[in-house]
C-alpha cells in the first residue's frame, strides 16, 4: 500500500470512529515502577497497528492488560467494545505471547488441535484451518514433530499459527517475527495484509524498525509512555528523517527536552 493510500485508509477509519481497541489513561505499576503510564490509544478497525520501542518500554505490559492477563493499576480499556478484562469477546481475539507459550510435549498439529478445542471449533473447519496455517507458516512437513524438538524460529511459527487458529477479528502479536528468517518474515507480512483485507485488526509489537514501516499506524513507546503515534510516513516527515529509527530517536530527544 502506498503511503498516500494508507493515509486515506487511516483517515477513513478514524472518521468512522470504529475502534477495536480504545484505552483510557491505562496505567500499570509493579512495585512502584511505572511500566505503562496513562496510555491513550485508539486502534482503528481493520488496521495493522505496530507498537515499537526498546525493551522495557511497556509494549508487552500494555498488551497483557488488553488481553486480560494483567490488571491495570488505574485507567481502563475497551476491546471490541467490551471493558477489560475481556470475558465475552475472548473467542474473537487472538493472542501470541512473546514467550511463544506453546506446549513442547505435544506435536505441532496437536497444539493447533488443542486451541481448536478451546475455541470449540468443529472438527472439519479445524482441519481445514490447520492445513492453511501449516502451509502459511511453512510447517506442513513438521506437523507431527514434537514442538520441543523444533528450532526457536519454528516454535515461533507454531505460536503464531495457534493465535490465528480460530480466525479472530482482532489479534495481538507480541514480537511475532523474532527469530524468523527474512524470507519467511516477508511471507508473514503478506499474510498479515490478507488478514487486513479480510477486515481483521492486527496489533503487533516489534523492534525491527524496518518492519514497522509496513504498519498502517505506529505507536512509539518509551519508558511506559506513548511518545508519538501516526502513519510511518507522517512520523518521518514530522521529524525530517528518512527512517523510523531516526524518527524514534528524534521523538525521544524531544520528550526528554
Amino acid at each position: 500500500m502506498s503511503a498516500k493510500a494508507r493515509k486515506v485508509a487511516v483517515a477513513a477509519v478514524t472518521r468512522s470512529g470504529q475502534f477495536t481497541v480504545e484505552t483510557d489513561g491505562l496505567r500499570k505499576e509493579y512495585d512502584g515502577l511505572v511500566a505503562v503510564d496513562s496510555l491513550d490509544l485508539r486502534i482503528g478497525k481493520g488496521l495493522v497497528y505496530g507498537m515499537i520501542g526498546p525493551n522495557g518500554s511497556g509494549k508487552t505490559t500494555a498488551i497483557k492488560m488488553l488481553v486480560g492477563l494483567l490488571r491495570p493499576t488505574s485507567g481502563g480499556a475497551r476491546v471490541l467494545g467490551e471493558s477489560i478484562p475481556v470475558k465475552a469477546n475472548t473467542a474473537r481475539i487472538g493472542y501470541m505471547p512473546q514467550e511463544m507459550a506453546v506446549y513442547d510435549d505435544i506435536s505441532v498439529q496437536e497444539n493447533l488441535g488443542f486451541f481448536a478445542g478451546l475455541y470449540s471449533m468443529d472438527p472439519e473447519s479445524a482441519r481445514r484451518r490447520e492445513e492453511e496455517l501449516l502451509r502459511m507458516t511453512d510447517l506442513a512437513d513438521r506437523a507431527d514433530s514434537l514442538v520441543g524438538q523444533l528450532s526457536g524460529g519454528m516454535r515461533h511459527r507454531v505460536s503464531l499459527a495457534c493465535a490465528l487458529m480460530h480466525d479472530p477479528e482482532l489479534v495481538f502479536l507480541d514480537e511475532p517475527t523474532v527469530g524468523v528468517d527474512p524470507e519467511l518474515r516477508a511471507g508473514f507480512w503478506g499474510y498479515f495484509s490478507r488478514l487486513k483485507e479480510a477486515g481483521k485488526t492486527i496489533v503487533l509489537t516489534t523492534h525491527y524498525m524496518d518492519e514497522a514501516v509496513r504498519c498502517d499506524v505506529v505507536g512509539m513507546m518509551r519508558q511506559g509512555v506513548l511518545i508519538a503515534e501516526g502513519e510511518p510516513a507522517a512520523l518521518m516527515e514530522r521529524t525530517g528523517t528518512t527512517g523510523l529509527e531516526d524518527a524514534f530517536l528524534a521523538f525521544a530527544r524531544e520528550g526528554r527536552a
Binding site: V67, G68, L69, L70, R71, P85, T90, A91, I93, Y95, P97, E99, M100, A101, V102, Y103, D104, D105, I106, S107, E110, F114, F115, A116, G117, L118, Y119, S120, L146, C162
Partner: protein, 380 residues
C-alpha cells in the same frame, strides 16, 4: 462449564504424557516396584533367626524335659538353632559377638524343678518350685527379639502341655469376622495403592503447573474462552485417569504376585482412588503457585508426602500413631482413602459402609479444585 473445552484440556495433558515414554514407564513401574518390594519385605513372617541353646539340664526321674524345648526350637521356622555351646558364658558371648540374636539357657535343674512343680500342682500343694528357661536377647531389633521370645515361650508351653500334662483352665478362642486368612500384604496393599496414587497425581500436577507457569502456556490458555474452572477440571480428569490406570496395575499385580484378597467391589476401590487423585491434583496445583521452578516444586514433595506416609495408616494402623499426632491423621485425605479401600478389599464393605471416606474425599476434591480455580482467577 463446557464439556468440549474440559475434554480439550484433559486430552492435551494425556497426549503430552503419551509422547513421553519414559514418564509412562515411571508411572507404571514405580507402583509395581513399590508393591513388589513392600510385598516381599513385609509380606513374609520372620524366618531363620539365628539362636543357640545352652542345654545343661541333667533331668530327673529318668526324664529330661529340655529335649522337648530343643526339639521344638530345632523344628521351628522362625528360629534357626546354629549350635549348642557347652557353657552359659560361651552362649552369652555368642550374643555379644553378634553371631546369634539370642541364647536360650536351660539350667541343670530345669527338669527337676519343673517336675517338682508339677507334683505340687497335682497333689494340691501350693506351687513353690518352677523350672525356668532364660533367654539372653540382643534387643537391638525389638521385632526380632519379640519373635524369638514368643517362640521360646511356645517351646516351654509345649513342655507343660505335652510332657507334664498341665493345661490352663482358661482358654482364648478367636474367630475371624473379617479377613479370614488375611496376611499383612492384604492390610497394606490398599495403603500402597492410595500412597502411589497420591504421590503420582501430586507430583504430575505440581511439575506440570510449574512448567505451564514458567512457559506461560497457562496464561495464554486463559486468554481463550476456556474458564479457570474448565482448565482445573480438565487436568483433574486427566490425572485422575492416570491414577486409575496406575491403581489397576497395582491391583492386578497384587492379586497375581501376592494373591491378595479383594472381598468387595474393585470398582468402588477405583472410585476412592480417583477421588483421591483429583484432590491431590488440586493440591499440587495450589502449591505450584508457590514454587518458582521445577526444582523448588520437588522440594514440596517430602513436606506433603511424609505426613501421609507416616500418619495415614498406610503401613501400620492409626491406633499405632501416637495419640498426640492422631488428630493430624484425621486431616490427611489419604487416611480416608486407605481406610475406605481397606474396608472394601478386606471386609467386603459397600459404598453404604464407607460413605464417610467417600464424602471426605469428595469434599477434599471439591475444595482443592475450587481453590485452584480461584487461584487462577486472581490476576496481578
Amino acid at each position: 462449564m463446557k464439556a468440549q473445552r474440559v475434554l480439550a484440556v484433559a486430552r492435551r495433558a494425556l497426549t503430552g504424557l503419551r509422547h513421553d515414554r519414559r514418564t509412562i514407564a515411571f508411572l507404571l513401574l514405580i507402583p509395581l516396584f513399590m508393591i513388589t518390594l513392600f510385598g516381599y519385605t513385609f509380606g513374609g513372617e520372620l524366618q531363620d533367626v539365628k539362636i543357640c541353646i545352652v542345654d545343661l539340664d541333667e533331668g530327673a526321674d529318668n526324664q529330661t524335659l529340655s529335649v522337648i524345648v530343643v526339639a521344638y526350637l530345632t523344628n521351628s521356622k522362625t528360629v534357626k538353632v546354629t549350635d549348642q555351646p557347652s557353657s552359659l558364658d560361651d552362649g552369652i558371648q555368642r550374643v555379644r559377638d553378634g553371631d546369634v540374636w539370642a541364647t536360650v539357657y536351660i539350667p541343670v535343674d530345669f527338669s527337676e524343678r519343673a517336675l517338682a512343680g508339677a507334683e505340687q500342682l497335682t497333689t494340691g500343694q501350693p506351687l513353690t518350685t518352677i523350672g525356668t528357661v532364660t533367654v539372653y536377647l540382643d534387643n537391638s531389633n525389638p521385632n526380632i527379639a519379640s519373635a524369638v521370645s514368643k517362640e521360646v515361650y511356645a517351646a516351654v508351653q509345649a513342655v507343660a502341655g505335652i510332657e507334664l500334662g498341665l493345661y490352663s483352665p482358661i482358654a482364648l478362642a478367636s474367630e475371624e469376622v473379617y479377613g479370614e486368612d488375611a496376611e499383612f500384604i492384604d492390610f497394606f496393599a490398599p495403603g500402597v495403592m492410595g500412597l502411589a496414587a497420591m504421590m503420582v497425581t501430586f507430583m504430575l500436577s505440581i511439575i506440570t503447573f510449574v512448567h505451564e507457569r514458567s512457559t506461560h502456556t497457562l496464561d495464554r490458555v486463559l486468554t481463550t474462552p476456556v474458564t479457570e474452572g474448565e482448565v482445573v477440571a480438565g487436568y483433574a480428569m486427566a490425572f485422575g485417569v492416570v491414577a486409575l490406570i496406575q491403581s489397576t496395575v497395582i491391583l492386578v499385580a497384587a492379586v497375581l504376585l501376592f494373591d491378595i484378597q479383594i472381598a468387595g467391589n474393585p470398582l468402588l476401590v477405583l472410585l476412592v482412588i480417583f477421588l483421591l487423585g483429583v484432590g491431590n491434583q488440586g493440591l499440587g496445583f495450589l502449591l505450584s503457585s508457590l514454587a518458582r521452578s521445577e526444582f523448588q516444586a520437588v522440594q514440596f514433595m517430602p513436606i506433603v508426602l511424609f505426613p501421609s506416609i507416616l500418619l495415614a495408616g498406610v503401613f501400620w494402623p492409626l491406633e499405632a500413631v501416637p495419640e498426640l499426632l492422631r488428630p493430624i491423621s484425621y486431616f490427611i485425605p489419604l487416611t480416608y482413602a486407605v481406610e475406605g479401600c481397606r474396608s472394601v478389599m478386606i471386609r467386603g464393605w459397600g459404598i453404604g459402609d464407607i460413605w464417610l471416606s467417600v464424602v471426605v474425599l469428595v469434599v477434599f476434591a471439591i475444595v482443592m479444585l475450587g481453590l485452584s480455580a480461584l487461584g487462577l482467577k486472581r490476576r496481578r
